[in-house]
Symmetry: C2
Subunit: 169 residues, 2 copies
DNA sequence: TTCAGTGAGTTCCATTATGGAACTTTGTAA
DNA sequence: TTACAAAGTTCCATAATGGAACTCACTGAA
């Protein structure tokens, strides 16, 4: 069976997972961000099988997170460059860093960290609520119908009115 | 072949992808965050096959993102509750929202949005650099050896010194 | 007391996807 | 003329996925 796709989903999380919900694609993006953006580099750094890498790169180019660019002709050689959309996706990867550091490494013992290329200053990704400026707390959230919400008939949507009710109450 | 695992990786992103690098696990967490945390609820909301759901829930409990709790006995009935680690992982999901909204929906036409349960105020996830307070820009970052860095011999690590050099230069 | 219904899974199966390894292709450098 | 490199392909055995049907424990109604 083919992997289930979420291209029709009304949820931005689900939609994003079509391309980011996988273990190789995020790592490929990470390497491109780090500057290892050629086929053989990606292959040996990640330890990914070459045939899979070929497929994933095609996916990422198709999804417009990467663009395939020749860095020389004769012989033709390529590199995969992050697009604007790709850079945007990298923010999600970066949100994984504090999670990984906190739960998989002893405090202060993570082997990698990020710095600003210019200043050399440490960079600590943090997810906040842009409206209040405060760190986001997932415990206080409720999903609600947004401006593009269209009420349909499946159970999935029946529930949305419940969310809505709970808000209006 | 079994899916490749990253439990030995020095990268917090890779480590996190062992459990989050997949399309169902994040969606299951999303549903638990939204309050749909029982087997049949998850199954019908997500449209996931029951056998897969069973496996994924076991994984998430094993990874301590969810805990399985009986909400009644006789007959035994369970719900899957987000742990602290699970809530932490939700922040990553929430970072997917602005990405998904921006790239998969017309501006201002996303069907779902988040609100604070108490105040009803809109919540907009945003990834910033905790040190400067400014929105994170992935184009300016360099990966560097962290405090727990141990230099080994594989090509993977050879490159780290390059990162390091480029910083020191 | 029997019977349909519910929640929480299992079992079975055909189809895909994954990972490992070997093999191409095109062009360059010795 | 031979060795080497980059960027893929091809082939294969094994695993994972998704769909559907089945189980099991209990309950509330007839």
């Amino acid at each position: 069976m083919e992997r289930k796709k979420f291209s029709g989903s009304p949820c931005p999380i689900a939609r994003s997972l079509d391309v980011l919900g996988d273990w190789w694609n995020p790592l490929i993006l990470r390497e491109c961000l780090y500057g290892n953006s050629r086929f053989d580099e990606l292959q040996s750094w990640l330890g990914i099988s070459r045939n899979i890498l070929t497929r994933r790169l095609a996916e990422l180019v198709e999804a417009e997170l990467l663009s395939k660019q020749a860095y020389q002709e004769k012989p033709a050689r390529f590199e995969y460059v992050l697009t604007e959309k790709g850079h945007d996706a990298c923010l999600v990867l970066l949100a994984l860093m504090p999670f990984g550091e906190r739960w998989y490494f002893k405090k202060g013992q993570h082997p990698i960290e990020l710095r600003d290329r210019e200043t050399g200053e440490l960079v600590k990704p943090l997810v906040i609520d842009a409206n209040t400026g405060k760190p986001l707390d997932s415990k206080t959230l409720v999903p609600c119908p947004g401006p593009g919400f269209k009420a349909p008939k499946s159970i999935k949507e029946r529930r949305f009115s419940e969310y809505y009710d709970s808000l209006v109450e």
